[in-house]
């Protein structure tokens, strides 16, 4: 296949696939209900495959996919050596510091921060000159301050519903997050025309 595209499993990937299809790269079975993971359009010599959202950048960096769609949070956290060709303006959310409603940090103590995004959290608090104790978690981050594991969390907030339902509140917004079209560096030089055209179409700059 001449062009291989890694899509993040889930709602975002489905939405983004529709835009790829509209931009001239359809592959009808991609949205079928089957458990199939890889889909080829032989006519276009294009391949799509579903990947765990946090793994898409790895597939692209290592050249298993020429293009992929990954959240800015993943790109900042793992710093893969890839090109970031377009902000797709979808999958919008925020990277935030949150804690229990009414939480007031004790400036005399090291701040305990629970997160999946250790690089982002470390960089953010280092810039503020704040000493932190990092607690690396892999899921259900919201419960950390509730049960006293941490003072705050650094996590992605989309609508804020989960936070509200657990009596948590956003203290600070670190940065806005959205989905990005990423490309393998080497592959770009051999498929530049296709990739540039797709990037323009997907970012609405045709």
């Amino acid at each position: 296949m001449n062009l291989s595209i890694a899509l993040p499993k889930g709602r975002l990937g489905e939405k983004v696939y529709t835009r790829f299809a509209e931009a001239g790269y359809p592959c009808p079975d991609v949205l079928s209900e089957s458990r199939k993971l890889i889909f080829d359009n032989r006519e276009l010599s294009a391949r799509y495959f579903w990947a765990k959202p946090s793994d898409v950048a790895i597939y692209v960096e290592r050249g298993a996919a020429d293009l992929g769609v990954a959240g800015k949070d993943i790109l900042l956290e793992y710093e893969p050596d890839v090109l970031e060709l377009a902000d797709l303006g979808t999958g919008n959310c925020r990277m935030c510091v949150a804690s229990m409603e009414g939480f007031l940090p004790d400036e005399q103590r090291t701040l305990r921060v629970a997160t999946k995004f250790s690089r982002i959290a470390t960089a953010y608090f280092a810039k503020k000159g704040r000493d932190i104790e990092l607690i690396q978690l892999n899921g259900s981050i919201e419960i950390a301050p509730i049960i006293g594991l941490s003072d705050v969390i650094v996590d992605i907030v989309e609508t804020g519903t989960t936070l509200r339902e657990n009596h948590l509140a956003v203290l600070e917004t670190i940065m806005p997050i959205s989905a990005r079209l990423i490309a393998n560096r080497a592959s770009y030089f051999f498929r530049k025309g296709q990739m540039d055209a797709l990037a323009s179409a997907l970012s609405g700059k045709e």
Binding site: L83, E84, R185, K192
Partner: protein, 368 residues
């Protein structure tokens, strides 16, 4: 002596071809010892592909390192001789963190360094050697060329401070035009300067396509330098592989002027990296200028097809056979240019092109 096909691995074949190319162009081989004093790398950590170094203590307590890089040793060992040029090539094993596993590996690296009175002729020659090196690896390659002077000029025209320049350089290297645009908006960059910065970041193509635009956005001097060196390659067989692309960025603390990376279709990472490193020379107390590049031969593994068989033919003979009959049958097959392995049974864990049985009558019967 000619070496039969299939004996040398791709990496070895390429290495021989590279050595011939560099020698043909007047480069002499630089041999270095395996260890260097650790201070050399500690003082120039950012110059290294990966900052990590394997260290150990010598018997006198001195801290040594297994060399992670060759250029620093070449620069340190040389002397400035006005108006002359030192041209060396190397093939050395280096020890550094590499690959996606982020662990230490021994890597075969080749490269050239041109140190001294580096003029347009030397710059063009180095670019030619880099592009030619790529063509010896694959017929489908790209030498992507950039000019750090142009990148600095455009960032200065945009009025970006030092921290913002670092950010902008990251965006340019990732072709994140959307991030660059946001940064310009945030810093209230004048619209014309911002447009120039965005144009530069998006530039990618042949010299004919890119250089007029580079002039248009205020980088006439750098466009002129790029034109001089790329024009010199016009009548060569590698010119079609030359692209100008400003996503190629090397650390401006060490590099200046021309920087480049080489790519081969089918290898997902850069195969060649190089550029002018006059700033490294100054840091190391040298007055001479320099340009060079490294070829990362470990990346060639990506091009390997299915693994070669252990032998073309496995000759299976009955246990207790007459040794001279077995070896005689093997020699007959070898005379036909085949590699032959003789065993009494077919092993599970090895690969052979064909399996043949030696009968009690001395006949060779191929199994389907």
């Amino acid at each position: 002596m000619t070496i039969p096909d299939g004996i040398l691995k791709r990496e070895e074949r390429v290495l021989l071809a590279l050595r011939a190319l560099y020698r043909q162009n007047g480069y002499t081989q630089y041999k270095m010892r395996k260890f260097e004093e650790y201070d050399l790398y500690a003082d120039n950590r950012d110059f290294l592909v990966s900052g990590s170094v394997i260290t150990f203590h010598d018997t006198d307590g001195k801290l040594l390192a297994l060399k992670p890089d060759v250029t620093l040793s070449i620069v340190r060992s040389g002397r400035d001789e006005p108006d002359t040029v030192q041209k060396v090539y190397y093939q050395e094993n280096v020890y550094r963190v590499a690959g996606y596993s982020r662990s230490f590996r021994e890597i075969m690296q080749a490269g050239v360094e041109c140190i001294g009175a580096v003029d347009a002729c030397q710059l063009a020659e180095t670019l030619f050697l880099a592009a030619k090196s790529l063509s010896l690896i694959s017929g489908k390659s790209v030498l992507a060329l950039s000019h750090l002077g142009a990148v600095s000029r455009i960032m200065e025209l945009a009025g970006l401070g030092r921290d913002d320049q670092r950010l902008a350089l990251g965006f340019i290297s990732r072709k994140s035009l959307h991030e660059l645009s946001s940064l310009c908006k945030e810093k209230n960059t004048q619209s014309e300067a911002a447009a120039g910065l965005l144009k530069l970041a998006g530039l990618s193509g042949s010299p004919e396509e890119v250089l007029p635009v580079l002039e248009e956005i205020g980088c006439s001097r750098e466009a002129g330098e790029l034109k001089r060196v790329t024009d010199a390659l016009k009548n060569t067989d590698v010119y079609a592989s030359v692209r100008i692309d400003f996503s190629v960025v090397n650390d401006p603390a060490y590099y200046n002027g021309l920087v480049f990376q080489g790519y081969v279709d089918g290898i997902p990472e850069r195969v060649i990296s190089g550029g002018q490193y006059d700033r490294l020379m100054r840091k190391m107390g040298r007055q001479a200028n320099a340009i060079g590049f490294a070829v990362y031969l470990d990346t060639l593994e990506h091009l390997e097809d299915s693994p070669a068989p252990d032998a073309d033919i496995l000759l299976v003979y009955p246990a207790g056979s007459d040794a001279s009959a077995v070896l005689g049958a093997a020699r007959k097959l070898q005379a036909q240019g085949k590699s032959v392995s003789c065993m009494t049974r077919v092993p599970q864990s090895r690969r052979f092109g064909q399996v043949a049985a030696l009968t009690a009558e001395g006949d060779v019967r191929y199994e389907s």
